[in-house]
């Protein structure tokens, strides 16, 4: 079979192979484009993820500080509760003592000084005046009623002094409670500031992580597209491989023909160069090359050794 016949035979297949290779080239271009887009998406995603990490660290810092402040508030509230309980107890004691004081004042019906004067006046009267027995009996009764009232008035005074003292204690406790409430408000404001900062960052984090997720999804989609295209390339390569296998006997023969033709051509060029050499003509580099490649005996027999030496000396000159 001539090379024209072979080429005619394998021509359509070669065209198919060529067309498929062009197809692969186009697909590779698309893959490169997709890879470039994927790289940009990956960089954006990673950048966003890095930003997210920084913001998450900041948010954690604010949250931890807020929690620390909230713990301080809890402790201060506990302390305030203790003082409030104490204040309640004191208030209860004050109320109890006030009730008792009021009861005694009601019973005494006068200040101890006034009652004491009256008592002394009545004692003096009963012990010094010439009185009828009935008057003495009345005065006797009155003196010991006054005595009881004086005792009540004195107890009421003592209770009043205690009440005043307890009011002072209560005032001290209230001052402490106010001081603690002030501290709690101050820390609560700071805690709220930290909470708002943390919330602000979590909102940023949601937004940025959403964007990062979108980029990640787009990246996965791109990878999917790239994989699909690679599968296509593999399938086409497989087709090409099959086609090449189909035409392999023809191409082998064609290569053999081309090799023979090339050898003949080299032989011809070598013969021409040999002729030039015998005639003592100057050899070109191509001539020399033809002699080396196309004449197998050029370097093996004596004649050839001689020819080679001539050619070499000419070449050197």
């Amino acid at each position: 079979m001539s090379d024209e016949d072979i080429e005619e035979k394998i021509g359509p297949t070669m065209e198919k192979i060529e067309s498929s290779e062009k197809g692969i080239f186009e697909i590779v271009k698309k893959v490169r484009k997709l890879q470039s887009e994927a790289k940009i998406l990956k960089e954006k995603r990673d950048r966003l993820n890095n930003q997210c990490k920084t913001i998450a660290d900041e948010a954690r810092g604010f949250r931890e500080k807020r929690d620390e402040l909230n713990n301080q508030i809890t402790e201060l509230k506990k302390e305030r509760e203790v003082h409030n309980k104490l204040a309640k107890e004191k208030s209860g004691e004050i109320e109890g003592k006030k009730k008792e004081r009021d009861r005694l004042n009601e019973s005494a019906r006068g200040t101890d000084k006034r009652l004491q004067k009256l008592y002394e006046k009545n004692v003096k009267k009963i012990l010094e005046k010439d009185l009828p027995l009935d008057d003495e009996k009345k005065l006797f009764k009155s003196i010991f009623e006054l005595d009881a009232r004086i005792n009540d008035a004195k107890k009421a005074d003592e209770l009043h002094t205690e009440v005043v003292g307890k009011y002072n204690d209560l005032k001290t406790i209230d001052t402490k409670v106010d001081e603690l409430s002030g501290k709690i408000r101050e820390i609560a404001n700071k805690s709220e500031e930290h909470h708002l900062e943390a919330v602000k960052r979590y909102e940023q984090l949601d937004k940025l992580s959403g964007e990062a997720d979108e980029h990640h999804e787009a990246l996965i989609k791109k990878y999917g597209e790239i994989n699909e295209l690679r599968k296509n390339i593999d399938a086409i390569k497989e087709d090409i491989s099959k086609l090449r296998e189909d035409i392999a006997p023809y191409t082998s023969e064609l290569e053999s023909i081309e090799k023979s033709r090339r050898e003949l051509d080299l032989k011809k060029k070598a013969d021409e160069a040999k002729g030039k050499l015998r005639e003592g003509k100057r050899l070109s580099f191509d001539d020399f090359k033809s002699l080396l490649e196309g004449d197998e005996d050029f370097l093996s027999d004596d004649e050839s050794q001689e020819d080679a030496a001539k050619a070499d000396s000419q070449q050197s000159a």
Partner: protein, 114 residues
């Protein structure tokens, strides 16, 4: 510093009764003396009036001396008596009242126990 008035020491019912009994004893003694004095007072007043009349009539130095002695005795007696206004009967009635009162307070003291 505010000056405090001295406060009378608190007295117990028993102490008061005891002191009331003492008071009645004192009044009983005074009224007893006064009842006796009242009889003498009447006599001395009459004597003084009589001597005053005699002195005014020029009775002499002896009446004058007696008059002065009577006036002094009368003044001393009046001074020693619990009342010069009350009659003997009234003072006797008062004496009885004090005795009755003392009896009451003694009984009261007994009721109080030791």
């Amino acid at each position: 510093m505010e000056e405090q008035e001295p406060v009378m020491e608190e007295i117990t019912p028993r102490q008061l009764v005891e002191r009331l009994i003492e008071k009645h004893d004192r009044f009983i003694s005074d009224y007893e003396n006064s009842v006796e004095g009242a009889k003498r007072l009447h006599i001395l007043r009459e004597k003084k009036d009589q001597l005053e009349h005699w002195v005014a009539d020029g009775g002499g130095e002896m009446f004058e001396k007696q008059f002065q002695a009577t006036v002094k005795e009368l003044a001393d007696l009046e001074k020693s008596m619990i009342s010069t206004e009350l009659s003997q009967a009234q003072m006797t009635a008062r004496l009885d009242d004090h005795k009755g009162a003392k009896k009451y307070w003694v009984k009261k003291l007994e009721e109080m126990g030791q």
